[in-house]
């Protein structure tokens, strides 16, 4: 199993987290071996969260494999941001309503806030950080710049990924198809006209 350098840090932070929680001293070895049921520590009251289950997870993100040990309940968006520092994936509502957390999973645009990381193991995950190749922006990113298709930029990674997943499958789309494909991503700045112009322009280049 490929273990990145970051994992050491992650285990450390996991340990300090547990200590902070007052749920007892779990060892890093135990964490690394899989399911751990934290034991009650010295505290007089019972642990706050019973039966936290930690699982080893292997994720394939932007073509790179990451081995982690995380709580089973954690979402992909959360894990990307806090464990892997891939903060381009934004969380606007954390309940599948806004689309800021959109990532691509096996070619489909999906809400990262509503996928459990454990459930996307073995699948190809693309985030905004993986779009540029060899230091060159993806044509859709370039089109977003050319057409000024963002304002505050917070929804932008999600918009771009929704657009990319769509354009990967659909050549020469119509405006109506583009709008449908992006209808799950809200932009409060209302840059919609520039966004669909950018997607249509990129479609011509891809």
């Amino acid at each position: 199993m490929a273990t990145t350098k970051g994992d050491e840090r992650l285990r450390m932070s996991r340990r300090s987290f547990l200590k902070g929680m007052g749920v007892g001293a779990a060892t890093s070895t135990a964490l690394a071996t899989g399911l751990v049921k934290p034991r009650a520590g010295k505290a007089a009251v019972p642990p706050l969260v019973e039966g936290l289950s930690y699982v080893p997870v292997e994720l394939k993100i932007n073509g790179r494999r990451y081995a982690l040990t995380i709580e089973a309940r954690r979402t992909l968006a959360d894990v990307l941001r806090t464990e892997l520092n891939l903060t381009g994936t934004k969380i606007g509502c954390d309940r599948a309503e806004c689309g800021a957390c959109t990532v691509i999973v096996d070619g489909r645009a999906m809400y990262g806030c509503s996928l459990l990381a454990v459930n996307v193991q073995g699948r190809e995950i693309e985030t905004i950080e993986g779009l540029a190749k060899n230091g060159r922006l993806h044509p859709l990113q370039e089109a977003f710049i050319e057409y000024d298709a963002y304002q505050c930029g917070f929804c932008t990674p999600g918009q771009i990924l929704a657009g990319k997943a769509f354009l990967d499958k659909k050549k020469s789309p119509t405006l109506a198809e583009v709008k449908q494909a992006l209808s799950g991503n809200i932009c409060r700045c209302g840059a919609y006209h520039h966004i669909f112009e950018a997607v249509l322009a990129a479609a011509k280049k891809l």
Partner: protein, 776 residues
């Protein structure tokens, strides 16, 4: 004629483009603070109640809980931009559902959440009022019995639950109505709508080694955040350092602080770094939506369409605390005449306390309400007089040199051009064919005015050792592109390429004061400060070159980042040379500054009565006209906007593409305001705190045929003639859509939003019954 400009007026790519499309921008939650405790808020469940006791002993025993703060722990400071009426945490009494009562700092989310559940609050219910109408009744429960004793920054006119009453009056109202051939009296209402910036609000606060509060946050104004924390916690501003992240939208909602004072109180209590980050439903319930309003208008008009008199009463429901309400009501009053010459006018605006969550600034600052009402009524007038709605407006439209309400002069008015261009682009006509027997089409127009110059801003420019430039201004880019626009202004003035300039990240220790990114004022107001600073830097470069080359500054010229002697171009010093000379040899590092304030000419007391207005002079008027075509389904009541043309006089457009984006984005928000957005409450409880229940426009809702038209009526006082455009894109939209719907249906809707229920009810009222559905 101005000389042709190098950078100003061109649609250069925004300076933050690459970082934003690559996901590398660091918003609030993208900067890790792994050492921070988790902060959480206990929100009031009562709209109005005495707080008998808040018991936290059980909650404090939860492992991992480090501190719990309640109102009684805090100093007696109250905060607010116009009226200091708001504590960080309710003290003694709670005034709305969702008011912060207690704060918890803990090692984990779970511990903090558990502690919140164990805090016991004993309430003694008090009578509550939710509508302004109820709050204004004699004997209504008073939200703030101590109102008179609060600190105000202006001469506020207050009574009962009215925290601010602004009056503008000119001419002789009775004479004006007597002169009229027809008098119209109408009432309009608007709803509460939320900013719903996509990035939630948060703050990390730490007490540093020197005892100062360091605040990392996402705000529209680091300076207002600094000031409010200082006044609430009774500590000097110098002890507070506010550092901004990138900001994922604001739209006014982040002008005044959000969670920063709470996080500061918590950090002071526990002596550790604390992070407070709102959830989406907390944003909806604690946030500061646009004020709901009731607007009564009486307008007198001659048969030929000339407006003779106008009386308006605007009532803004500000919720439990004033926040920006007095400014919003006052500005709504100032805008309520509309961009029309009317000799006899009286406007009264009331900002009223109720037990709803507090309202605040949201794109337009009181003007969307006033404009919806005024522009709706103008269509009623046009209809009765059998005049084309555009013709009626043009007969009264202001021009350069005319006088605005209150006696200030309009220095640049592109209103007529806005009408002409929007009408032409949208294909203005009064007869519309419908696409199906159950659908009706209609066109509507609405105009607006606004201001772009108010209050103050400063800017620094420094010339680095290698001749590149640091630009330090206090204007936060919340998505409208001001980093780019201000960099363009500095580049133009200094004669350097934009790539030579770095727009500094903003924190309150280094950035000169700026009121905030709001009020459509950044390009005009901060732009003027930036231009002054860049001009100062240029003069200092010339002076240093003159001294070094031993010539008079008058004998020098600047060409392509080089200062040279006129007539002998070989005697020259590049900006790079001058940067090095200033740092190592002579003169000292070049530090330049610009300070700007809109301080006159002000209102004319001889012409107008002006009472309870919380601003000084406001200037650089901007204008806009929206023309829309809608299709209304008479079976379902659904309204679809098919086409829109929005023409805006923005002064010189520093970056035309960015201006178009502002117009289109404003229109999209205005469409939501017109058709479906509404923050609903029952008993003061917010009912729809989610994007599922609170709909905002998606890409499917905006019209495909949307044209943003830039009208450039340069203002003599603007930087390179520029004015502004941030808010106007939204201001006229709801009225234009309402006018189009009324045109389509032949019946007037006076209440926002224009929901299918309201459309069908209006049709029913008109026809007595709905037309039976046709057989297929």
């Amino acid at each position: 004629m101005p000389t042709p400009l190098a950078v100003v007026g061109t649609s250069v790519v925004k300076v933050d483009a690459a970082e934003k499309v690559s996901g590398r921008s660091r918003y609030f939650d993208d900067v890790p603070h792994r050492d921070a405790l988790v902060g959480k808020v206990l929100w009031s469940r009562q709209p109005h109640a005495r707080l008998v006791n808040i018991e936290r002993s059980r909650a404090l025993r939860v492992p991992g809980v480090k501190a719990i703060v309640i109102g009684a722990d805090l100093p007696d400071g109250l905060m607010g931009p116009f009226i200091k009426d708001e504590p960080i945490l309710a003290k003694g009494v709670t005034r709305f559902v969702g008011e912060p009562l207690a704060l918890v700092a803990a090692c984990s989310d779970e511990a903090a959440a558990e502690a919140l559940q164990l805090i016991e609050v004993e309430y003694e219910e008090l009578p509550a009022v939710f509508t302004a109408e109820d709050a204004l009744r004699p004997g209504a429960p008073l939200l703030h019995p101590d109102l008179a004793s609060y600190v105000k920054i202006y001469e506020a006119v207050q009574e009962g639950n009215v925290c601010s009453h602004t009056t503008f009056a000119e001419g002789d109202l009775d004479a004006g109505f007597a002169e009229a051939d027809e008098v119209f009296e109408d009432t309009f209402t608007t709803q509460r709508v939320h900013q719903t910036y996509l990035e939630r609000s948060g703050a990390v606060v730490e007490v540093d080694a020197g005892g100062r509060l360091v605040v990392w946050s996402n705000t529209q104004s680091v300076h207002l955040t600094q000031i409010r924390i200082a006044e609430a916690l009774l500590i000097p501003q110098s002890k507070i350092h506010v550092i901004n992240s990138r900001v994922g939208g604001g739209f006014g909602g982040r002008m005044e602080p959000t969670v920063q004072p709470m996080a500061a109180a918590l950090a002071l209590k526990c002596g550790k770094k604390v992070k407070l980050y709102l959830s989406r439903d907390e944003e909806f319930t604690f946030g500061k939506p646009r004020h709901s309003s009731r607007i009564d208008i009486k307008t007198g008009v001659k048969r030929d369409g000339r407006l003779t008199a106008k009386q308006v009463r605007l009532i803004y429901n500000t919720g439990a605390y004033a926040d920006d309400g007095p400014g919003i009501a006052g500005f709504g009053a100032m805008m309520a005449r509309g961009p029309y010459n009317i000799p006899h006018v009286r406007i009264d605006a009331y900002c009223v306390y109720t037990n709803l969550p507090k309202s605040g600034a949201f794109r337009g600052f009181g003007n969307p309400q006033a404009t919806f009402a005024s522009e709706s009524q103008l269509d009623l007038i046009a209809e009765r007089l059998r005049l084309d709605p555009i013709e009626l407006r043009l007969r009264n439209a202001v021009q350069t040199g005319d006088t605005a309400l209150g006696g200030q002069r309009y220095t640049s008015v592109g209103l007529r051009r806005c009408f002409e261009q929007a009408a032409a682009r949208a294909g203005w006509r009064r007869v519309s064919a419908s696409s199906s027997p159950t659908k009706r089409r209609g066109m509507g127009v609405a105009a607006m005015h606004h201001i772009s110059g108010l209050l103050s801003a400063g800017a620094f420019v420094k010339i680095n050792e290698d001749g590149t430039v640091g630009l330090v201004a206090g204007a936060v880019d919340i998505g409208q592109g001001c980093e780019t626009v201000l960099t363009q202004i500095a580049a133009e003035e200094l004669g350097v390429p934009m790539s030579d300039i770095h727009y500094a990240a903003i924190d309150s220790d280094t950035a000169p004061f700026n009121w905030g990114t709001a009020g459509s004022r950044t390009t005009f107001t901060v732009g003027n400060a930036v231009r002054l600073a860049a001009g100062d830097a240029r003069r200092q470069l010339l002076a240093l070159a003159a001294k070094t080359l031993e010539v008079s500054p008058d004998d020098l010229e600047t060409v392509d980042r080089t200062v040279r002697v006129k007539g002998s171009p070989q005697r020259a010093l590049s900006y790079r040379d001058l940067g090095a000379i200033s740092h190592w040899v002579s003169g000292g590092p070049i530090l330049a500054k610009g300070s700007f304030i809109v301080d006159g000419p002000g209102f004319d007391p001889k012409r107008a009565v002006l009472r309870g207005f919380p601003f000084g002079p406001l200037t650089a008027y901007i204008f806009g006209v929206h023309v829309v075509e809608v299709e209304v389904d008479v079976e379902t009541g659904e309204v679809k906007v098919l086409k829109a043309a929005a023409a805006h006089d923005v002064g010189r457009a520093i970056n035309p593409t960015v201006v178009e984006g502002q117009i289109e984005g404003g229109f999209a928000q205005g469409l939501g305001y017109a058709l479906f957005e509404e923050l609903c409450t029952e008993g003061g409880q917010t009912l729809n705190p989610s994007f599922i229940d609170y709909k905002i426009p998606s890409i499917l809702d905006v019209p495909e045929e949307m044209t943003a038209i830039i009208v450039e009526e340069e203002d003599p006082h603007g930087p390179f003639g520029a004015k502004g455009v941030g808010e106007p894109g939204l201001v006229a939209t709801a009225a234009a859509i309402a006018n189009a719907v009324s045109h389509a249906l032949g019946v007037r809707l006076r209440d926002l939003p224009l929901t299918p229920e309201r459309v069908l009810a209006a049709l029913e009222a008109k026809q007595g019954t709905l037309s039976p559905p046709r057989a297929p």
